[in-house]
């Protein structure tokens, strides 16, 4: 019986392929792309200013609202935060990823990778609120800063218009720190994987041909690890673009995209505008991926 069934399938490879692919395809099309499509449709609806009801007719009115100064500012604020968080994550990740990929013994490598991923095992909310305490006026970080007599530097940093605030926990600087902390593993892992794939002989060959370590880094290691950096940056950039918890818990009262969406679809009940604002990060990410492809980030994948 079982043999006959196996033979039946053996003779119909297309049927087997269909059976295997149907569930994931169904999931992808209905649940994933379907909901995105609904989002897209909703973003072309508008809301009646008097009744607060959704008018289900095609209009670009809602999109026009995005370009009002207040919303434009939200986009600019979020995108620049995502940008600096990505740059900082890449810079911080590289040495550690390089050490894990090229120097650590197999045992140490396992432990370091566990160390990098361990934060992901605990609740994201808990970690964000812990940072709120760490960064607070009387928090442990301020205590350390006072210990080293650097409160002048901190005050100086916090005095900057736009990135400062009354304390780290209430400033964009603090938000930046928490973003980098939370997304760092998403950068370290792809960069480490990319570096793992750079054969040691290439690094040796570069030195052999006269390149000093810094030149080797620039001409061999960085270009070859670049796809990994791009992969990591896709995570750090898109996750920062869409996040609404960190801006809620840390920093000042100025909105990020995620917060705006949250409040529009919640208390304000303006689903079309929330949908339109959500399309913002989607479009930004599509542009980002196109640029990344242009830079050859996917050539080595």
């Amino acid at each position: 019986m079982l043999t006959r069934l196996s033979t039946y399938f053996y003779q119909r490879p297309r049927l087997v392929l269909f059976l295997f692919l149907a569930p994931p395809l169904l999931y992808l099309l209905v649940v994933y792309l379907g909901s995105l499509f609904l989002l897209l449709i909703n973003s072309f609806y508008s809301i009646d200013d008097f009744t607060g009801l959704i008018i289900r007719e095609f209009t670009l009115k809602t999109y026009a609202q995005i370009f009002e100064p207040a919303n434009r500012e939200i986009f600019a604020r979020t995108a620049s935060m995502a940008f600096v968080v990505t740059i900082a994550s890449a810079i911080i990740s590289f040495p550690l990823a390089y050490y894990i990929a090229k120097y650590a013994s197999p045992r140490l490598k396992t432990w370091l990778l566990i160390g990098v991923t361990i934060p992901l095992w605990s609740s994201y909310l808990v970690r964000v609120y812990s940072w709120k305490l760490i960064l607070a006026q009387e928090g442990i970080l301020s205590w350390f800063i006072r210990l080293f007599g650097l409160e002048g530097v901190l005050q100086w940093l916090l005095s900057f218009e736009g990135i400062g605030g009354s304390s780290l926990a209430l400033s964009p600087i603090g938000m930046f720190i928490v973003f980098v902390y939370i997304w760092l593993p998403y950068m370290i892992i792809p960069v480490q994987t990319a570096l793992e794939r750079v054969p040691n002989s290439l690094i040796e060959a570069s030195g052999d041909l006269g390149a000093k370590p810094l030149q080797t880094f620039r001409t061999v290691i960085l270009p070859m690890a670049f796809p990994g950096v791009i992969a990591g940056s896709i995570f750090t950039f898109s996750l920062t673009l869409g996040d609404f918890i960190i801006p809620l818990a840390i920093g000042n009262s100025k909105f990020f995209i995620g917060q705006a969406v949250y409040s529009y679809q919640g208390t304000a009940g303006n689903i079309p505008l929330a949908a339109a604002m959500t399309m913002g990060p989607v479009v930004i990410m599509i542009i980002y991926l196109l640029i990344a492809r242009r830079l050859g980030a996917f050539d080595a994948l």
Binding site: S206, D208, L209, G210, M224
Partner: protein, 346 residues
Amino acid sequence: MTNPSSTPAIRFNQVSRHFGEVKAVDQLDLEVIDGEFFAMLGPSGSGKTTCLRMIAGFDRPTSGSIYLYGQDVSNLPPYERSVNTVFQDYALFPHMNVGDNIAYGLMIKKVPKDERTKRVDEMLDLVQLKGFALRKPSQLSGGQRQRVALARALINHPKVLLLDEPLGALDLKLRQQMQVELKAIQKRVGITFIFVTHDQEEAITMSDRIAVFNQGKIEQIGTPAEIYERPASAFVAGFVGTSNLVSGEVAKRVTGSDQTFSIRPEKIHLGTSNEATPAGMVSLDGVVRDVIYLGLYTRYLVEVAGGIDLVVVEQNLKTTSMDVLSIKGQKVKLHWHKDHISRVGA
């Protein structure tokens, strides 16, 4: 090889390299003559690659010193040594085209672009890859990559060129072709070549001199003929070509001493059991245990008194497979020239 310098290209003075407990290279002395094609031959783990890596600067000796044309380079980083390497896996930069790969060393030295292009063209000519400058390494065959790796190293005019198992990844035909070509290129550029291999045939074909490595030490240094004809130890006799090692009673009967000696299979003549021993020859009686017909030649396994099996190889000049196979089980007399045996120690 015009006017070789009297200073050795490479000199090892009591060089050791330990990895924890393992003595990969153990108090090694070595001199490589200016302009020669030098082979480091040995099984894996014998220390030959570690020696090469220490010359290149990828590894540093635990103790002892390495001199490059008289200059102590033991602690210099690779980029400060006038030595270039052809890597076993070629190590071509995958994100650069062939021309940029070859020009890499010149680019690092900030040689002007015009001259770079000119010299890359010369190199492509030398390794017979004209018109390949714009290809990516991934578009090349193994043999072509090998040539690019060679050109990339030679363009810098190194004092010594190191080759780590250069032909290991190529198939037999291509390997034999590259052996000849490498030798020709070396003659043309006149640079000292040091190459590491575990292939004794390759070492014999290409090199002026061979160092046979075993367990972190050099067993013997000499020309291919010396190594083959006069192996200094049982290890060399066994590693370079096939050899019969004879010791104890049988040895005593032949040479008058029970010291082990080696005799190459092709040096032994297979005669009929009632044949007289010619002058200057020694002989042993035996029985043919096995015959393996190999077309060009036949390999016989002959058991001599004392229970030792000797391998004998004879070319099939006049015999056919029928003839040679019929010898199996027959009594024979083996003889060889007295001078053709090498004492290889205890």
